[in-house]
Symmetry: C2
Subunit: 450 residues, 2 copies
């Protein structure tokens, strides 16, 4: 195992004002990264993947240090068991980190893609070409595998990265960032400071004010945390608010598919933002469908809260009456609200009223109803006969995700490398002037070449 | 000429709180617009274009009323002649408005485009499909032709629109909005309230707070005005800050192209944000190039402010010394700052340091230097041998523009219909559950179909 004495650049090591310095350095690095070849960017990712594997024990040792401190917090009751579990990694976890970096390296180059080409006039051609955003900042809680995942996505798309992890994972994050930085240093063309790690809470405050230096901020954590970042920075934020996902069982649903999809959407991982919180059932199918569905939920340990018609039809005394507020709740737990609706229109209206524009599903064998649902529900994911739990960057084939966005601007849903790019217009002429068009000597013909 | 007694929905007619009501109505309209066919959306635009032509005298009369009041302000010295000129329209201007609406109707449908298709597994296919943003608000100053232009772009892309024009153009804007609303009413499938017009300054304040109801806000006006909107709303803003554009004359430039491009970039319309403010000249070409260039600028009435080397080489006593602050100035006038640079690297560094990420041009016959410039300059438009004045939605072939963005997120540069769209992921399965992948029974194969 190669050891290094080089220290990782951190906000700690340079004091509070170091954050601005780090952001300026990242900006400088970004300008170099933007013109690196795809070959070099991939080489950097593969070098980092190798280094992660080779220095696995260093990562595991750093993680053990974090876990020792964290287990003390669990004993004192100031850290939850779930958080502790997410903090822990292992030799096998480290190998998975390396594998994920290699997956991102295997994606097609997100840069230099010609999104459109228009010949404006003879000899005057406009190319709309994808390019990096610049400097991306990611603020995340405990899970240390975010470091290699986000570093891979950022560098693959030619961006400089500022990372701020949770203090409970400080040693693991520092070890991972150091390994990345060492790996990048083996490639002479790579700019220094392509990846920077911040440590303190105060660093976040400083970061949020740097809208001139940072192009995008990605908060990964609780709803309250994401909301806080949204409200305290002028930097564009990519993140997700609530995850109130619906499954609507249409009158023409195949019942076994409906049961399978609804059950998976709720119980496969109820803490995830893409798990379902509300089941809508068409009144035409409710009498025959609801008793089986409710029985399956109850058998899976799910608490069912039903509207009055659900209560009447469910045939299960454990079903509790749903309140109006249940339609707007993100339980993140084994609880589901169930409502009988009069048909497609009421289902769509309910979702557009109460949903969070995350992911909503219709179960039906009627293609026309499915198409109407998918056009008219205003959400980043609209599904037909598939579990809402599929809303995930890896499952979508994005390699990994930098986050999930419930905003509509720029990137929506699970966001991979493409969400870390923008575009520039490259116009190639031959001494062309606007005056000759304004004067009528020349005319645009706007021929779309792509 | 058809006259109508139907009144246009305005914030005036319903009092202050009417803004929320209008935004809610626009939201409802947006959900209907999202599922209208392209045929219907085009039909609406063509109906509006016809109505604009048929009711031209109504628009001209309303404009005369605005102009009468405005000319009083010009006499009093509280309105500039330039502003007055932009307010004025004519029968011919109205015909141009109609023509522009027809151009937007002739664009390819921006909705329902499959941006990517991936088969995740057998029978489980993910479609990334373009769709409308929802509700777009445009706040603009005097120019009444903004109403038909923006209405066409918004409806073509399936969005509901809230408009707020300057009080000086109130009669013209109201007439135009009424004509649009009447035209839309002739199409039964069109939702009511697809277009709403606000009138008061207080309405803007209320609007800025409605981040739950409005998806995008486009301010069109002075730098200070755009900046104000940026800082006082949590709604995403599409707009442009400063326009500090550069022309860099490389050592391998064709001199006649360099003179033509630099001159056009500065003098063709100096008040525009895409006109050049700084000329950078390679030291290798400066001694032979600068005297001719400066003479041409001076002949065109341009004040030249030069660095010390420019002063020494220009051979014109009217050249004033440039201060450090000149490099960061948007003159919007017949003034240009000129600097001699050591080569490509210094030119790129200067632009990335002082530019506003708007539009920057290199003049050269060296394709390698041009490519390096275009990759490494961080701007929405990077040009080779073409005037910076080409940065415009119409010239780019976008039909029209809702605005120009100097931000990097979502849409960049001149923004047409595409910038008013987002996308949703449509996932079509057959009862697929995540549990079967987590359990290892099934595996994703992520086959990219498009």
């Amino acid at each position: 195992m190669k050891m290094t004495t080089s220290s990782v650049a951190t906000s700690n090591s340079v004091g509070g004002s170091g954050v601005i310095e780090m952001a300026r350095n990242a900006r400088t690095a970004a300008l170099v990264l933007a013109s690196l070849s795809d070959e070099l960017r991939c080489k950097a990712l593969l070098a980092a993947a190798d280094a992660i594997e080779q220095r696995a024990s260093e990562i595991v040792a750093a993680n053990a240090e974090d876990c020792a401190a964290a287990s003390e917090l669990v004993r004192q009751g100031t850290m939850s068991g779930a958080l502790f579990k997410r903090l822990q990694t292992s030799e096998r976890g480290v190998m998975q980190m390396a594998a994920q970096v290699r997956e991102v390296a295997a994606l097609p180059d997100p840069l230099g893609r010609e999104l459109a080409v228009t010949e404006l006039d003879a000899g005057l051609t406009l190319h709309k070409v994808s390019c990096p955003l610049g400097v991306v900042a990611v603020i995340f809680e405990s899970r240390p595998d975010v470091v290699p995942q986000v570093a891979a996505l950022a560098l693959r798309s030619g961006n400089a990265l500022l990372l701020k992890g949770g203090s409970e994972a400080q040693h693991t994050n520092t070890a991972l960032a150091r390994i990345w930085q060492d790996a990048l240093r083996t490639i002479p063309e790579m700019p220094a400071n392509a990846i920077g790690l911040l440590h303190t809470r105060e660093a976040i405050q400083e970061l949020l004010a740097l809208d001139e230096l940072i192009d995008l901020i990605v908060p990964r954590g609780s709803y309250e945390f994401v909301r806080y970042i949204f409200q305290h920075s002028r930097i564009p934020v990519l993140g997700h608010g609530a995850g109130i996902c619906h499954v609507y069982v249409h009158s023409a649903a195949d019942r076994s598919k409906a049961v399978a999809v609804a059950l998976d959407s709720k119980v496969q991982y109820p803490a995830a933002c893409n798990s379902a919180e509300t089941l809508l059932v068409d009144e035409a199918i409710a009498p025959s469908f609801l008793p089986e569905m409710v029985a399956r939920f109850v058998a899976a340990g799910v608490e069912v809260r039903g509207c009055s018609r659900t209560l009447a039809l469910a045939g299960d005394s454990s079903v509790r009456p749903a309140e109006e507020t249940d339609w707007g709740r993100e339980y993140s737990d084994l609880i589901i609200a169930v409502k009988v609706v009069s048909g497609l229109d009421e289902a769509i209206a309910h979702i557009n009223r109460w949903g969070s524009k995350h992911t909503d599903c219709i179960v039906t064998e009627d293609a026309v109803a499915a198409a109407a649902f998918m056009d008219r529900v205003d959400a980043s994911g609209v599904y037909h006969n598939a579990s809402t739990r599929f809303a995930d960057g890896f499952r979508y084939g994005l390699g990994a995700e930098v986050g999930i966005s419930t905003g509509k601007l720029h990137a929506r849903g699970p966001v991979g490398v493409e969400g870390l790019t923008t575009y520039k217009y490259k116009l190639v002429g031959n001494g062309h002037t606007v005056a000759s068009y304004a004067g009528g000597e020349r005319r645009f013909h706007h021929r779309r070449l792509k």
